[in-house]
């Protein structure tokens, strides 16, 4: 046997941490980790030191103190005698209100604009292009301010509705008044009030609301069952039974019966003193914020929808046409279900953006959580760090909830690989 030179592993030297590929990646990971931790340590340490130097502590006790300020829009009962915590909760609900309204409206606007941008009608397609480009390329804050300024400057003050020959008049059969402060809309009242469910902490839900919700959900479930039955019949006989009247009936008849039972009627707003009372005054801040968020996010969603539709190969629609499907059916049954797979993931981030962008509300005096907890409460109590940390937590949790919900939806529509 001849001696074979077996290359022995060279002894470990520190320089190998840099020059040996086996160790190099590990070395850099350790260094980066140490740097990141050092930065985090420095930030925390600096904060603690500076707070100590100022003689400030980190304490959430202020949340249980009297708030002392009023909020224009309160979804739950709130007075200036309530705590900062309740003020923050009112702000959170206001954030949710504008976010949910915004997400729904932006989706509708976005889908319409996205589909219309692909229209064969030259004028409609170009108009939608102008809309998308105008809203996508101008900062949201400017749109919010512009919409708000238009409301403030163009609409008449409530005073203008006064007198025998008023300068302004209410619309929709004297039920809605557009003013430069708010839109006064009628409220609902019941002659046969069933009372309310008390959830504690002065939060109540009317039994009538619960009854309507139950009626709608039950109606929807029955409608699904009718559709499933029609599908079965179609599968067996090839003829789909006419079900639209049954679907319509289960969705509407229970609600109509409830309206009759509770004696539901509208109370229109009336001008009394300085302002409209009796109805519901929807602040212009909310309307302006909602409109601007809708149009701005809608422009992005339109592009997402357009991209999703263009991602479906032309062969799909040609095949559908070859089977004799009309264009509307082709879109609903063939193109959109496939396009949704492309559309949903970017749509999630648009919803998240909209929710976070709603924190610009203070620009138009809409008191969302940034306006209450992060604005007046922060300023009156001087608890900057606590308020900001709390607010970041709230937005984080909201974002994660939206993400989780949309991911569930995405899992349902995505390509099923069997």
């Amino acid at each position: 046997m001849t001696d074979v030179m077996v290359p022995a592993n060279p002894p470990f030297r520190p320089s190998m941490l840099i020059y040996d590929r086996r160790y190099r990646s590990m070395t850099f990971q350790v260094i980066v980790f140490i740097l990141v931790m050092a930065l985090a340590w420095w930030l925390v340490n600096n904060t603690i030191r500076n707070l100590a130097a100022l003689g400030k502590d980190f304490d959430f006790g202020f949340l249980w103190q009297r708030a002392g300020y009023d909020i224009p829009q309160t979804p739950i009962p709130y007075t200036s005698d309530d705590t900062h915590l309740r003020a923050a909760l009112v702000g959170l609900l206001n954030t949710l209100i504008v976010s949910i309204l915004g997400c729904i409206a932006a989706t509708v606007v976005g889908i319409i604009a996205g589909v219309a941008r692909l229209s064969n009608n030259w004028l409609i397609a170009r108009l939608m292009t102008v809309y998308v480009e105008a809203f996508r390329n101008v900062p949201l804050l400017l749109w919010i301010l512009i919409v708000f300024a238009v409301f403030t400057e163009v609409m008449p003050p409530p005073n203008a509705f006064r007198g025998d020959d008023p300068a302004a008049s209410m619309i929709l059969f004297d039920h809605v008044a557009l003013t430069n402060r708010y839109t006064a809309i009628p409220t609902l009242a019941m002659t046969n009030d069933p009372g309310s469910l008390d959830l504690g902490a002065r939060i109540t839900i009317s039994w009538a609301t619960i009854a309507f919700a139950v009626a709608l959900v039950a109606g929807w479930i029955v409608r699904r069952m009718i559709a499933a039955w029609a599908q079965r019949v179609q599968d067996q006989t090839g003829v789909r039974p006419t079900t639209w009247w049954a679907s319509l009936a289960v969705m509407t008849v229970p609600s109509l019966l409830l309206i009759w039972y509770f004696g539901l009627h509208l109370i229109p707003p009336t001008l009394k003193g300085f302002n409209f009372t009796g109805g519901l005054n929807v602040q212009n801040g909310l309307v302006a914020l909602w409109l601007a968020l809708t149009l701005y996010t809608g422009a992005f969603i339109a592009e997402i929808v357009r991209a999703g539709i263009l991602a479906i190969s032309r062969g799909q629609s040609e095949a559908a046409f070859a089977l004799g499907l009309r264009p509307g059916r082709t879109m609903n049954l063939v193109i959109l279900p496939q396009a949704l797979r492309v559309i949903i993931p970017p749509l999630i981030s648009q919803y998240l953006n909209l929710m976070k962008n709603s924190s610009l509300a203070i620009a138009v005096g809409y008191m969302d959580i940034k306006g209450t907890l992060g604005g007046t409460t922060l300023n009156q109590t001087g608890r900057e760090l606590e308020s900001i940390v709390l607010m970041m937590g709230v937005y984080l949790v909201l974002s994660l909830i939206i993400s989780a919900g949309m991911n569930l939806f995405n899992a349902r529509v995505k390509l099923k690989e069997r």
Binding site: R49, G68, D81, N180, G365, M367, L378, N379
Partner: protein, 338 residues
């Protein structure tokens, strides 16, 4: 090796940042400039003029402090702050001194860790309405929509006042005086409420000041004063005694015009001490002999500053009232320079 050096320098940096908070005087001197927090724009108190130079009642106090500390009233960097950002700007060290018509209250002085160094304007909260509204008293404002700046004491006073009088109102929250003006002028609120001096200043900027009235009710005490960070007593002393120097100068008849002459000729021992002719008071607060002289020379004494910015000869037209010298029946009273 490198890492530990880096960590060490960061630790040192953190230490410096912590220590740096405590000696504002040294910081200002090293920087060669006073960072002064002022209003974003309230004519008469602090607003940039057509050439972009800041002028106003609060601005002149910044100038006096800069003159006393740095020897040059122009060495001020004006940091515009809103009602919401002002105290954070001060406690974070962004500004050395806050001269922004801010009300001295218990919780601000204690819990917010500020030190108010005195009162430069005794004010109270009022309401402004359009004459066409036909309202003559704040008690008639039940159900009205009222514009209010967020993050101010006026916001809390408003809630208390309407509650105490068993009235309701709709608040319209706004961020700055300019925004409030715009909303009020457009009729988006029936009344605008803030400190009476602020109302007068706002009204003076209107095209038709006569068609707006300030209601007679003053619903709160609003002692407005400059503030510094809690914990640096020496810097607080400098700001406090600069204010007293301006007030005392008016009491003793020292103006920006006769300043030099009085320094030479005055036989009044208090004037001699104030102007650094005899005792060296400046050394006790870390400044030189002439600090008060320079502060008064910057824009004149308290009375001159008042008259030039918000007095009866200006469009704002505020009477001295509570802000007259104690010898004239007012509340302005400088502690003795001794």
């Amino acid at each position: 090796m490198k890492t530990s050096v880096f960590l060490g320098s960061m630790a040192a940096g953190a230490l410096m940042a912590g220590a740096g908070m405590a000696d504002t005087l040294a910081d200002v001197k090293a920087r060669g400039e006073l960072n002064c927090g002022v209003n974003t724009g309230l004519v008469g108190f602090a607003a940039p003029d057509a050439n972009g130079n800041w002028t106003g009642f609060d601005v002149d106090f910044c100038k006096a402090v800069a003159a006393a500390v740095l020897g040059d009233p122009a060495k001020v960097k004006y940091v515009p702050t809103t009602g919401q950002t002002r105290f954070t700007a001060l406690s974070s060290g962004e500004v050395d001194l806050l001269a922004r018509n801010s009300t001295w209250t218990f919780s601000r002085d204690t819990d917010l860790k500020l030190d108010f160094i005195g009162v430069n304007y005794y004010d109270g909260q009022g309401f402004m309405v359009n004459k066409d509204l036909g309202v003559t008293s704040a008690k008639e404002l039940d159900g009205a929509t009222i514009c209010i700046q967020t993050g101010t004491t006026t916001e809390l006073n408003l809630a208390d006042y309407f509650k105490a009088n068993n009235m309701t109102y709709q608040p319209v929250n706004i961020d700055s005086n300019a925004e409030g003006e715009q909303q009020y002028m457009a009729g988006a609120c029936d009344a605008y409420t803030t400190d009476a001096s602020g109302l007068a200043a706002t009204r003076a900027a209107f095209a038709d000041p006569e068609s707006h009235i300030i209601l007679p009710e003053i619903i709160s005490k609003e002692p407005l004063g400059p503030a510094v960070r809690h914990g640096d007593s020496n810097w607080g002393d400098i700001a406090r005694w600069t204010l007293y120097a301006l007030i005392a100068a008016e009491e003793y008849g020292i103006t920006s015009k006769n300043l030099e002459e009085l320094a030479k000729s005055s036989q009044n021992p208090e004037v001699q001490r104030l102007l650094g002719v005899t005792d060296d008071l400046g050394a006790m607060i870390g400044l030189d002999k002439d600090w008060a002289k320079r502060a008064i020379a910057a824009s004149g004494n308290y009375g001159e500053i008042f008259a030039a910015n918000i007095g009866e000869q200006t469009p704002i037209g505020l009477a001295r009232g509570l802000n007259a010298q104690w010898t004239q029946g007012g509340l302005m009273y400088a502690m003795p320079f001794r």
